[in-house]
């Protein structure tokens, strides 16, 4: 667990050990990415493209100017939230794959409040919409949390299924009671302008939700290594019998992390609705919950890793879309890279003997 390494920074104790582990962690981050890009390169070669050229182009598309960099950060914004929401659960040993559904419902709630609340309340509309989103999403993940904690219902199945339910509910509402009368199909009315999150670098869409996302990551780091609750969650994730024997309540830990995960996912949905798209429509989440899971896995639940991972995937997404416009390279190459990263992120690299000869398994 990379978690141990940075979080329990016990002062003046085994500096060498800490350096060694820091190195280990960065390898674990870099190697899956390198492998993924190698796999992507093979595919590019197969369709007759020069991978170096393509990657160079993607890199410059993602980072080479302020406008492009802003686009990358903007694409990274929802991932910050979904990755944190996922990591909170994963480090507790709860395999919650329902962040996407909570993100969607949070977005729907924020978009609805952003248009339904009266303009007259002024800037209050923003915190109220965000609060609504967080409560809805927290309730949403509270359900599988209770099912797991009290009835031992497998959380992978329940959260996966709830994603479909969330999609269904959202689809039903935006085609029914919430359907906009002016702007066509499958979408709500555009929110009041007072409900919009401020843009940071116009004309790019980068908005203050990005800062909220960073704050979330920071709060997560603080929670996981500096609070008793975060410590308890870690112990539950490492060994449930042990955690129980030292007096930690497993059911309430599980329910609490699911609710926190929901709060964060809902906040993410609100940020996306109020900051990016200004309404809710079908296809609101481009799989952000799942990409966020890839980020969390790659980061091995570390806060710093989440920031880097989110920016990496944000860069892939923003470069991928533009590159498709100017060349024959299909956007799917981005999906391939993303999937490969996910697979190799969960491989226990320590078990590969390549560079760790002679270590105890």
């Amino acid at each position: 667990m990379s978690d141990n390494a940075h979080t329990d920074a016990m002062p003046a104790d085994g500096l060498a050990a800490m350096v060694r582990r820091g190195l280990d962690d960065s390898l674990r981050f870099v190697v899956p990415i390198a492998i993924a890009f190698a796999v992507g390169a093979v595919l590019l070669l197969a369709i007759g493209e020069n991978p170096l050229e393509t990657y160079g182009l993607m890199f410059s598309e993602a980072f080479s100017s302020q406008r492009r960099f802003a686009a990358t950060l903007s694409a990274a914004t929802p991932l910050l939230f979904t990755a944190v929401a996922t990591a909170i659960c994963f480090r507790t040993g709860v395999f919650n794959v329902g962040v996407d559904g909570a993100f969607i419902l949070g977005g729907l709630a924020a978009a609805t409040f952003g248009v339904m609340l009266p303009m007259s309340i002024g800037w209050w509309i923003i915190p109220l919409s965000i609060l609504a989103a967080m409560l809805v999403a927290a309730f949403w993940l509270w359900i599988p949390g209770v099912l797991l904690a009290r009835l031992d219902v497998d959380e992978v199945v329940s959260t996966l299924m709830l994603n479909f339910v969330a999609l269904g509910i959202a689809g039903f509402l935006v085609n029914g009671v919430l359907l906009s009368e002016t702007s066509g199909n499958n979408t709500t009315e555009t929110i009041h302008s007072t409900a919009e999150l401020s843009r940071l670098l116009p004309p790019s869409t980068l908005h203050s939700g990005f800062l909220l996302g960073l704050a979330c990551v920071f709060a997560y780091a603080l929670w996981s290594s500096w609070t008793p609750a975060g410590f308890e969650a870690k112990l539950v994730g490492l060994n449930k019998r042990f955690a129980r024997a030292v007096g930690i309540s497993i059911p309430s830990t599980i329910i609490v992390v699911m609710v926190i995960s929901g709060l964060v996912a809902g906040l993410g949905g609100a940020s996306h609705a109020l900051g990016q798209v200004h309404k809710f429509s079908d296809g609101f989440s481009a799989g952000y919950g799942f990409t966020g899971m890839a980020v969390a896995l790659l980061a091995r639940n570390s806060a710093l890793g989440i920031v880097f991972g989110a920016i990496l995937f944000g860069a892939l997404a923003s470069a991928g879309t533009t590159i498709q416009l100017f060349s024959d390279i299909p956007l799917d190459i981005v999906n391939v890279i993303e999937g490969t990263v996910m697979i190799f992120a969960v491989v226990e690299l320590g078990k590969l003997t390549l560079w760790r000869k002679g270590k105890r398994p």
Binding site: P11, N239, F242, A245
Partner: protein, 529 residues
């Protein structure tokens, strides 16, 4: 690849050995220039205090770990072992301190796992030949002179049977060098003598055996030769006839003046000692094949150590778990200083002042993937001393962790190392360091000295005594009758989940207790004391 050596070649002088092996972990010199030789057909004991480097040396001999310098010797020649698979091909097999059988598989499946007998049914398609596997199993069983129910799921088999299967598994692969790392730590006394008989028989059939133990009387009963390790070095090696227990102890301890010989504890006679823990009519149903408990009542007074004895699997662990609040009881009462605890959660038991030392160190006593600091500080995360507002005061946590470990002389590298890097005995001391820190009034202690060396045992016994002198009390379950007799004011005996007798300290001998342990309990008058 080095040439594969012929097995059981009696003409060589060293079947397996080490020449000048060193291995460091960070600043810890686990092995420091160790040399030793095991001749063919010898039982070679390796002894030494916790952390002396025994397990490290064995992992090197088994190819699981590479030495920084020095070589492994096989049949008089140096070899470079790449991995355990190669070691197995060369005839070297190891039974680890923690068993490595797959718990969900049956014993038979575990026996053949990784090397299943196959039967071709058509062309290249082959299936596992379970009939052949069973025949082989029966043959091994006979060779070893033990009886095993091969269809039993491994998790439900008693520990000593699991251990037999581990050994037979190695024999089946043709391994004639058997390395056993503290095999007796988990066994009851009767089972130990059976294991000793089995190992002697295997030796007579030509096997070379390396045997690690902290119990020197076992070494004397079993081994031909003994090598003593201290702080990473092999400090003495001699035939068992030449070294008596006192001499071995001297070598193990070095110059340390510690006196491990136990002073039997005089029974406390506090005139009007307060009753602290009262258990009345405790019953618990069978869960996951555990022993049910039937109408158990007992009182524990201030300053007392009450022992729980019984043949392994007669409900001792279940009773201890009930007392710690980790197992639900179906009826009855547990009260602490008059306050009822029945029906409450484990954390309420802890809050009320009950601490617990689990017999299952690897899975319950410790979180093996967590750091040393996290393990020793777990459970204290809400203590005001370790909080600053809503946040953990990590510097204070680190200081306290170091203090707790130092108090019990736990040897470790860095606080952030995983707890699994500690030697077995140091792990156990860490558990005590944690449980003691919350200042519980009652300590529920199960098998506290498994795999702990003489100094460690003395330290743990001292902790228990000090705890009682400080006004606390202890309930102690142990398979070591000597330990119970030396420490306890009263010993209660369980059989099939029922309390079948109680013996006062002055009447306690292995015979009186042993007789009660073996009685079925029916029609037996419970001697009230």
């Amino acid at each position: 690849m080095s040439p594969e050596h012929p097995r059981t070649d009696r003409s060589v002088s060293t079947r397996i050995g080490a020449r000048d092996i060193s291995r460091n972990y960070g600043l810890v010199q686990a092995n420091n220039g160790v040399s030793f030789n095991v001749t063919p057909g010898q039982i070679h004991a390796v002894v030494g205090e916790n952390g002396a480097g025994k397990s490290t040396l064995m992992r090197i001999l088994q190819g699981l770990e590479k030495p920084d310098s020095g070589t492994v010797i096989l049949n008089d020649d140096p070899v470079q072992l790449r991995d355990p698979q190669q070691a197995i091909r060369l005839g070297i097999g190891m039974v680890h301190q923690e068993f490595m059988l797959a718990p969900e598989l049956t014993l038979l499946e575990n026996l053949v796992l990784g090397d299943e007998p196959m039967r071709t049914i058509a062309g290249p398609i082959a299936i596992v030949d379970w009939k052949k596997a069973l025949t082989e199993a029966r043959a091994l069983e006979k060779r070893a002179g033990v009886a095993i129910d091969w269809d039993r799921p491994t998790a439900t088999a008693p520990v000593h049977i699991q251990q037999y299967v581990e050994i037979l598994r190695l024999l089946r692969r043709g391994n004639d060098v058997l390395i056993l790392d503290e095999p007796t730590a988990v066994l009851a006394p009767q089972q130990v003598s059976k294991l000793i008989a089995l190992l002697k028989q295997l030796r007579d059939q030509g096997a070379s055996i390396i045997f690690i133990s902290h119990k020197l009387h076992e070494v004397v009963a079993l081994a031909d030769h003994v090598t003593i390790m201290r702080r990473g070095k092999a400090v003495a090696s001699a035939s068992v006839d030449e070294l008596d227990i006192a001499a071995m102890t001297r070598h193990i301890m070095g110059d340390a003046p510690a006196d491990p010989s136990e002073q039997a504890r005089a029974a406390v006679v506090l005139p009007d000692a307060r009753r602290i823990l009262r258990v009345e009519g405790l019953c618990a149903v069978t869960l996951d094949r555990s022993q049910a408990l039937d109408n158990i009542s007992m009182d524990v007074f201030q300053g007392e150590i009450v022992g729980i004895a019984g043949v392994a699997g007669n409900g001792q662990e279940e009773l201890m778990e009930c007392l710690a609040g980790l197992r639900p009881m179906s009826s009855g009462s547990i009260s602490l200083n008059g306050a009822e605890l029945a029906g409450k959660e484990n954390m309420d038991f802890r809050r009320a002042g009950i601490g617990y030392v689990s017999p299952d160190r690897a899975h319950e006593g410790l979180a093996r993937l967590a750091s040393i600091a996290d393990n020793v500080m777990a459970g204290s995360q809400h203590a005001p001393a370790f909080l600053k507002g809503p946040f953990r005061n990590l510097p204070a946590v680190g200081r306290a962790a170091r203090q707790r470990l130092a108090d019990l002389d736990v040897r470790y590298g860095a606080l952030s190392d995983p707890v699994s890097s500690l030697s077995g005995g140091n792990q156990q001391k860490l558990v005590f360091a944690r449980e003691r820190a919350s200042k519980p009034q009652v300590l529920i202690v199960s098998q506290p000295t498994r795999g702990v060396d003489l100094n460690g045992i003395a330290a743990i016994h001292a902790i228990l005594k000090r705890h009682c002198e400080g006004g606390g009390c202890v309930v102690l379950a142990s398979e070591e009758l000597d330990e119970l007799i030396a420490l306890c004011d009263r010993i209660l005996v369980l059989s099939e989940g029922r309390m079948v007798g109680a013996v006062r300290n002055e009447d306690a001998t292995p015979e009186t207790i042993g007789k009660l342990m073996l009685a079925s309990g029916d029609g037996l008058e419970i001697a009230h004391v």
